[in-house]
């Protein structure tokens, strides 16, 4: 093995390809979700068939995104995988710990705003990004 000659299918190029693939699936999922969210009102006047098709497309693309993310994490090296799995673990924990009280407080009109799923998605996204950034900083 010659360390001076980088492998053509080396770690960095493989992760770069997987990152592009993950970004494409992420973009496709956002587009499918937007289509499902705004299509009934702006594109097909709430026609049930199209709404169901859009929901099916969103789920199908979502499954693709999950598989792409799974492949991305599986092909990370062991340090990166540790960082991502820690971030995922904390994100799931935060979603449960924060999501249930917010839901209960909302039910009894304790909090002054209406909580919906988007609030939880934003919280999970921010937690995930912060945890990945912290993990990378910690092992920099």
């Amino acid at each position: 093995m010659n360390p001076r000659k980088p492998a053509e299918n080396g770690y960095q190029s493989r992760i770069w390809r997987n990152t592009i693939r993950l970004a494409c699936w992420g973009g496709a999922w956002v587009a499918a979700t937007l289509l499902m969210g705004f299509g009934p009102k702006f594109l097909w006047n709430k026609a049930l068939v199209f709404t169901l098709l859009a929901a099916g497309l969103d789920v199908a693309v979502g499954v693709g995104l999950i598989l792409a993310h799974k492949k991305y994490i599986a092909e990370l090296d062991e340090l990166q995988r540790t960082v991502f799995l820690n971030a995922l673990g904390i994100t799931v924990g935060v979603a449960l710990i924060a999501g249930i009280p917010i839901s209960v407080l909302n039910q009894y009109d304790v909090i002054p705003f209406k909580s919906d799923i988007s609030l939880l998605v934003i919280l999970m996204s921010l937690t995930y990004v912060v945890c990945v950034a912290y993990g990378n900083w910690r092992y920099r």
Partner: protein, 68 residues
Amino acid sequence: MKNRLKVLRAERDWTQAQLADALDVSRQTINAIETGKFDPSLPLAFRAARLFGMRIEEIFHDQDPAPL
């Protein structure tokens, strides 16, 4: 766990990136192992040992003294 990765790499005049390529990991992982922030798995330790033509215990060793 302590290791001699940095010394062995320097003896061969390899960069962290070159060693990372050879071991199929990120440069960040090599740096974290060299600085003792991260302990490699057994398969990665075997790959490093094979690359340097040494035994694992010649590269990686426990910080705690062996029990009597």
